[in-house]
């Protein structure tokens, strides 16, 4: 039987024409015609600024756009037929595009980019979101230079964010990843990142490739592959990330892509996360975090309502997932009024860890487990917003750090519930 390849014949033909490269920038798209052009131009300018002599290619992995996105990407190629481009390219700057499916999948998109990078023997590869319209050209060298010149294997970004943006990351993904794997990577689930050839090849070789069933979250898996595989990680401060780029859409799908992947990783990586405590900083270019304080509208009342309703409606589900102590405490705080409501960090960490253990044991449909966590997360966010309503940037950082330390302190509890569940 002929093994199915993510690379179409057309893509292979394009890769032959491009040939070996030093740098590859992947651009996964799906109907991004409205935003992709400035992103491509920023990538091009960044490549010309940062890597004027290197052989470079932009690979667009498109999930079946119907708005002409791929044409916009390839139309921006700087080759010997385009002399009007204001930047100066020493050599041809290739842009190629491939359509991998009629069904967009971040995992297939990433896998296509990884495969192209491996075939073209790219020494350093970056992935950029087509929606990062605020992207500056220097993001490209900031992401790629540590890989290309300093032999790092994974570079994740640090963005300048509003204190109430990226809450899923700051309240769950970052602290839990840090506690589990011991590295303080602020954006383990990033829309922009860079990786080395060896990390890309390692991930490609070990990725199960079940892209239909997995959905997405491959970016986070790549980060965890790097951490657990002993690859060298690095962080680069990029700048302002436009509001809502990554948080767009419903919470549950976002949690599937992040929390689901994180929980899934526990079983495979048990040896890695169970053997150590604490965490270490990651080498970082620029500021380790930047928080802005301009006003932002959040409907906190609704968060609390959804928490309260969730705790009541999902009690049968929670009985299978949570310990009786934790459930009782959640039910207690659900009765509190808005002014008195407080979802303490310790209770939140225990909640998350118990969900993680249940997820591994598959006490029920994993999707239901993630859905069950959503209202509880909203309750925790209500408290976070309340606690930080008047906080300065430094105070917000301090609170996030406290939460991280709580995740680290209670890690033995995760081991305990993990073993109990087994």
């Amino acid at each position: 039987m002929v093994e199915e390849s993510v690379l179409t014949d057309d893509l292979v033909r394009q890769l032959i024409n491009v040939g070996e490269v030093d740098i590859l920038v992947g651009l996964p798209t799906h109907n991004n015609a409205r935003s992709v052009e400035p992103v491509v131009h920023a990538i091009q300018a960044g490549l010309l600024q940062g890597f004027p002599r290197e052989r470079v290619v932009i690979v667009n992995a498109d999930g079946g756009s119907r708005d002409g996105t791929p044409d916009l990407v390839t139309g921006a190629s700087i080759d010997d037929l385009r002399r009007s481009y204001k930047g100066y390219a020493l050599r041809t700057l290739h842009s190629i595009s491939t359509r991998y499916a009629n069904n967009p999948s971040a995992r297939v998109g990433l896998r296509t980019i990884l495969a192209a990078a491996e075939l073209l023997r790219a020494k350093a590869c970056a992935v950029v979101s087509p929606e990062s319209t605020g992207m500056e050209p220097d993001w490209i060298p900031r992401l790629l230079r540590p890989v290309y010149s300093e032999n790092f294997d994974l570079v994740t970004p640090i963005y300048r964010r509003h204190k109430f943006e990226g809450l899923l990351v700051s309240n769950l993904v970052y602290p839990m990843t840090r506690a589990l794997y011991g590295q303080r990577i602020r954006e383990p689930y990033a829309s922009e990142f860079a990786f080395s050839a060896r990390l890309g090849s390692h991930f490609l070789a070990h990725d199960p490739g079940n892209y239909d069933s997995h959905g997405s979250g491959a970016e986070l898996e790549l980060a965890m592959s790097a951490i657990t595989g002993g690859y060298r990680t690095y962080q680069s401060f990029l700048g302002t990330k436009s509001q809502g780029e990554r948080e767009g859409g419903d919470l549950v799908p976002a949690m599937r892509r992040t929390v689901g992947v994180l929980f899934s990783s526990l079983e495979a990586n048990f040896a890695a996360w169970s053997s150590h405590a604490g965490s270490q900083p990651v080498p970082t270019l620029g500021s380790e975090s930047q928080v802005t304080l301009e006003s932002i509208r959040v409907n906190r009342k609704r968060l609390k309502q959804m928490f309260t309703a969730g705790v009541a409606e999902l009690e049968p589900v929670f009985r299978s997932i949570l310990s009786s102590t934790t459930l009782a405490e959640l039910q207690r705080i659900a009765t509190l009024g808005d002014d008195d409501f407080h979802y303490p960090a310790e209770l939140w960490v225990r909640t998350v860890y118990e969900f993680a253990a249940s997820y591994a044991k598959s006490v029920m449909s994993r999707d239901h487990i993630i859905q069950g966590l959503a209202p509880l997360y909203r309750g925790r966010i209500f408290t976070f917003l309340e606690e930080n309503r008047s906080s300065s940037a430094e105070e917000v950082e301090k609170n996030i750090e406290s939460l991280c330390l709580e995740f680290e302190r209670l890690k033995p509890y995760l081991l305990e519930v993990w073993n109990t569940k087994k």
Partner: protein, 546 residues
């Protein structure tokens, strides 16, 4: 028609550049001479060249390798006599080899009697033959060309206590072309050589003839007017003779030097040369196609002079800063290899003595639109000596055999005009004409073959060019067309094997015949024409409908 064709001889010629001093010493004084050069004409005829371009051989203090002339109507005693020159010229013509000589219009040596008179007093009748000033503040817009040695384009003359203008070395004062007597005198000098029978002049440093305040003193309309005047006289009195411009300028600035077929017949395409090296190093055709896209059309009787290397440094004046940095890092990592804004190295060392790259570069030289100019010794892959000063490292004696002084001279080695190359890679015992003549696979034999193939058709010299743009940017492909004849040229600029698909639908039904081996390739069809190419490989296909 035949007469008309003959006047265009330069369009389909292969020119060989040589310094008399460096080629062959017939009298054992350690310096090459005209009698020696004449003895080696059979070699050049076998190589297949159509014309010899001689570097300056006039009396000179030789502070700039003869470009500082002190007498325009004689031969430097080192190289023989005027009689020797005439004999050489006659022998060359007997072999149907044309002779191109230098004419340095812009400046003389400061030892030239004209300058000695000019500086002697402000009242001297020749005072106005040079450009004098009481201050050094004029023409600030003019760049300094020899950055490594000169701080200003003005030099103080302690004799006449004023400044004189010089665009090159300070011992080379510029002539004043605003003076009609100077213009008339220079034409008289040119006539002297034309009447002896030389076929063409390579006019040195043409853009700088005239100075005007508020300009960069290059390519001025007044300079073009002077060229037009010379061309008119040449066509009138010596039809069929040719003027070749040395004007290191961007293509758009070069175009006016062809005028309306009333200035130069030929001009060197300086910006193309470094980009050919760049294209091979980058493994990308972009630098080459880009500069040729920027190259304007020239009148039908005019021609570009193409070269890979010459007696000067590989000039990087006509590249951007980023390109110059790249070229230095790629081809001149050692500071000793750099001079002014260029690289003082020969072809073979520049290409790491890689035979495949040397062949590829020569293949492009011979097939791009223009007349190829070969630099002596490059046909056998001679090396250089960057330890010699200025540009002397690429002007070492021709290596004829592995014996005494490389067969160049019977003089004591210590009395040669400069030292021979002795190192085990490029020394005369490793690289010489005799040993390469014995091997049909030597670089010399290959050069003879490619020149023969080029000369088998006028298409390379006179045909149109159309670039193909295959998606594989490591491949440079173009079609040359002249009348019914079509030649497809495909160059792999990459160090690795490449597959390339060419859109040849326009030539559907034609059969490509590889011009070196004369082998047939599959007939061109509607589908993209697939070629696989080895590292640095190139093909010349004659597309024939059979």
């Amino acid at each position: 028609m035949p007469a008309r064709l003959d006047t265009l001889w330069y369009k389909n010629a292969v020119i060989y550049q040589v310094h008399v001093r460096a080629f062959y010493d017939s009298n054992g004084d350690g310096i090459g001479d005209f009698a020696g050069l004449a003895q080696k004409l059979d070699y050049l005829q076998e190589l297949g060249v159509d014309a010899i371009w001689l570097m300056p051989f006039f009396p000179s203090p030789l502070r700039d390798d003869g470009y500082d002339i002190s007498d325009y109507t004689s031969v430097h005693p080192n190289y023989g006599t005027l009689e020797d020159f005439k004999k050489f010229l006659e022998a060359a013509h007997e072999r149907q080899i044309k002779v191109i000589i230098e004419m340095v219009l812009n400046h003389t040596s400061d030892q030239h009697p004209w300058f000695q008179e000019s500086r002697s007093s402000r009242e001297n009748p020749r005072r106005d033959w040079y450009v004098w000033s009481d201050t050094d503040t004029w023409y600030k817009g003019a760049r300094i060309i020899f950055l490594d040695t000169e701080l200003s384009n003005w030099a103080w003359d302690p004799v006449s206590k004023s400044y004189y203008w010089h665009r090159f070395f300070s011992h080379q004062p510029d002539l004043n072309y605003d003076n009609p007597a100077v213009r008339e005198q220079m034409w008289t000098l040119m006539k002297f050589w034309l009447e002896l029978g030389i076929d063409a002049f390579r006019l040195d440093a043409v853009p700088y003839l005239v100075e005007r305040e508020g300009t960069n003193c290059e390519n001025l309309p007044e300079t073009h007017a002077i060229i037009k005047e010379l061309r008119q006289k040449l066509d009138h009195e010596f039809p069929g003779r040719m003027l070749l411009a040395e004007a290191n300028q961007w293509p758009a600035d070069l175009r006016p030097y062809f005028g309306n077929e009333d200035e130069f017949h030929m001009a060197f395409h300086f910006p193309l040369m470094p980009r050919m090296f760049m294209g091979v190093k980058l493994e990308d055709r972009k630098p080459i196609t880009e500069i040729l896209q920027q190259t304007p059309e020239i009148p039908p009787s005019c021609q570009w002079g193409l070269f890979l290397r010459n007696h000067d440094e590989l000039t990087l004046e006509m590249v951007t800063d980023i390109e110059r940095d790249y070229m230095y890092d790629s081809y001149a990592r050692s500071k000793a290899m750099r001079l002014n804004l260029g690289i003082r190295r020969r072809l073979a060392p520049l290409l790491d003595n890689d035979r495949r790259r040397i062949e590829l570069m020569n293949g492009m030289l011979m097939s791009l639109p223009g007349t190829p100019v070969l630099y002596y010794g490059d046909e056998i892959g001679m090396g250089d000596n960057v330890n010699l000063g200025d540009r002397n490292g690429v002007r070492t004696p021709m290596q004829w055999n592995g014996g005494w002084n490389g067969g160049f001279s019977v003089a004591d080695p210590e009395s040669l005009y400069t030292s021979l190359l002795l190192n085990p890679v490029y020394g005369y015992q490793a690289v010489n004409v005799l040993s390469q003549k014995r091997s049909e696979h030597s670089l010399l034999s290959w050069m003879q073959q490619i020149i023969r193939v080029r000369r088998s058709t006028p298409i390379f010299g006179s045909g149109l060019i159309e670039f193909l743009y295959p998606a594989n940017h490591r491949v440079l492909a173009y079609v040359r067309q002249l009348g019914d004849e079509t030649i497809l040229v495909v160059n792999n600029l990459s160090s690795s094997a490449q597959a390339v698909e060419l859109d040849l639908r326009r030539y559907k039904g034609k059969i490509p015949i590889e011009m070196f081996g004369r082998n047939l390739f599959p007939r061109v069809a509607e589908a993209p024409y697939l070629l696989t190419m080895g590292p640095y490989q190139f093909y010349w296909f004659r597309l024939r409908r059979i």
